[in-house]
Symmetry: C2
Subunit: 312 residues, 2 copies
């Protein structure tokens, strides 16, 4: 399968660490040292996962009216019935498509692309729109000192084709996903009860350890399956949960600065949209035929996933 | 693909129509005449989509520890991070499975099974657990006179295999899903903003008309693709939204009483779990080798889908 187009939308507001001094009692230095976050994106009043998703799709350079599959991912849905997939279908007058919304927390982007891979394999679709959007500020509790300061908002949209075509930018060489609820604290590590407590991360240490372990495992799984070494991988884009997790992963993958990409300092943790936003932001800089990129993700629940692509 | 096992869980409490006389001002006769509902299931305090899903899986007669894919569906999720798929994975010690949560509103069950079909086609899974669970009472507004009286709670679990085996009860002949957000009121017809208004159906008339039209279209799509006529279909299980929709569909499909199955009188609208609960409830009665069953669904957003199975 092929990646034909990618775009992203990040809300204009960047909330600095200083905002949290009086909100959850954490200082700029404390937050920056422990997470690498300096500012985080925040949706404006009236914005939500549905509106941000539409905005991301609008920024694509592809006519999406003829896609035959829409898979949208989020754990912070504005609407679980009139989902992102449905409002995008309506907004862009897409008349012949299957449409579904998914969540596997912060790892959902890779699950969404794997679902597309399945529709392509069945011959039930040949051009798909994948959207990842998060509105963390709508569900997080900013006064929670364990996680209130971590979250950002944003969306990304990808166009995928079964067959290579004039627009194709990259071939997706492999996709891997894994449910990891049996590991560590599993479903107790991070949770989001939308009508109760919202988004909470009571067991950050357990998330930290397992995120490193299983982002590495996922990425090596796709590398091994494609007879590639870590050294042959040009860029790694990990889920943007914490710069220390990213640095730890960089050490394990033997990646130097500049080859493991990050936007957490500016955007915070933008959930399942984070790797796609990061790829979209860096595309012009890193694009070169033959260059390989590995996405690797870890999500609450827990779940992991990795994707390997090669630019055409 | 094959259906090996199915089970369901419905909470014990059955709320009678008389409950609504003082709550949203509708009488038993008014509700019964317009919807066919006499009672609706209601989850107890402490129950939610995650607990009901676990209960449904527990009622299966299959060892699920070796499933390699878990797809869980709901538009009323207790948790969008520690999803149904994840808590089931942990509860039943499933160590080697992809896990994902989905919603396409009331049509999600068929989307979930189609996603499994994709994993089977790719060779990425061969034994899957599909769970559909709804906790409508957690998100609906009982005082809303347009829809407060419609909703029920419940869950169902299915075991699907790529290859026929000793446990296989039915072959799934075909699956069809379609996003219909471009039709009628689309995303305005029904919505569920989990942190705002909850579950609302402001445009019931539009839902009613399109549910009939597109449940018929979906079912005829799978019948036509399998060279079957409506007369050759032994049973129809439509989404349980309204007995008048079901009766209307029965007329269009030329189905007499007893061949179009229903549980809405007892359970209300149990969302994406409704057809699976109905199939599970009726399995012993209708099971006979060679018998064909068509499931057809319509969901908010809008979406539709149909599934054709033949008992072995």
């Amino acid at each position: 399968m092929f990646l034909d187009d990618i775009a992203h939308y990040v809300p204009a507001e960047a909330v600095p660490n200083s905002y949290f001094a009086t909100v959850n009692g954490l200082s700029d230095e404390w937050i920056n040292t422990r997470t690498g976050i300096k500012t985080r994106s925040r949706a404006a009043v009236g914005e939500n996962t549905n509106t941000m998703a539409i905005e991301a799709v609008r920024r694509l350079h592809t006519d999406v009216t003829d896609v035959d599959l829409i898979v949208a991912a989020s754990y912070t849905p504005h609407d679980t019935v009139a989902t992102i997939a449905h409002v995008v279908q309506r907004e862009f007058s897409i008349e012949n498509a299957a449409a579904v919304f998914i969540s596997s927390a912060c790892s959902s982007l890779i699950n969404a692309i794997e679902i597309v891979e399945g529709y392509f394999a069945m011959g039930k679709a040949s051009k798909a729109l994948v959207i990842a959007a998060e509105h963390n500020w709508a569900f997080s509790n900013e006064s929670d000192e364990k996680s209130g300061h971590l979250w950002g908002d944003g969306a990304s949209a990808l166009v995928l084709s079964k067959n290579k075509n004039a627009a194709s930018k990259a071939e997706i060489l492999d996709i891997y996903t894994r449910g990891l609820a049996h590991v560590g604290q599993g479903p107790e590590g991070v949770y989001l009860t939308p009508h109760k407590e919202g988004l909470m991360m009571p067991n950050g240490r357990d998330v930290f350890i397992n995120a490193i372990t299983y982002m590495e495992e996922a990425l090596f799984t796709v590398l091994d399956r494609n007879q590639l070494t870590s050294d042959e991988l040009d860029y790694v884009i990990p889920h943007q949960a914490n710069q220390r997790i990213i640095n730890n992963l960089a050490n394990r993958m033997n990646k130097v600065n500049g080859t493991i990409l990050s936007n957490i300092d500016r955007l915070g943790n933008t959930g399942c949209a984070s790797t796609a936003i990061c790829l979209s932001e860096n595309l012009e800089t890193i694009y070169k035929p033959g260059v390989t990129v590995g996405l690797t993700v870890f999500g609450g629940g827990y779940s992991s996933g990795a994707l390997l692509l090669k630019f055409l």
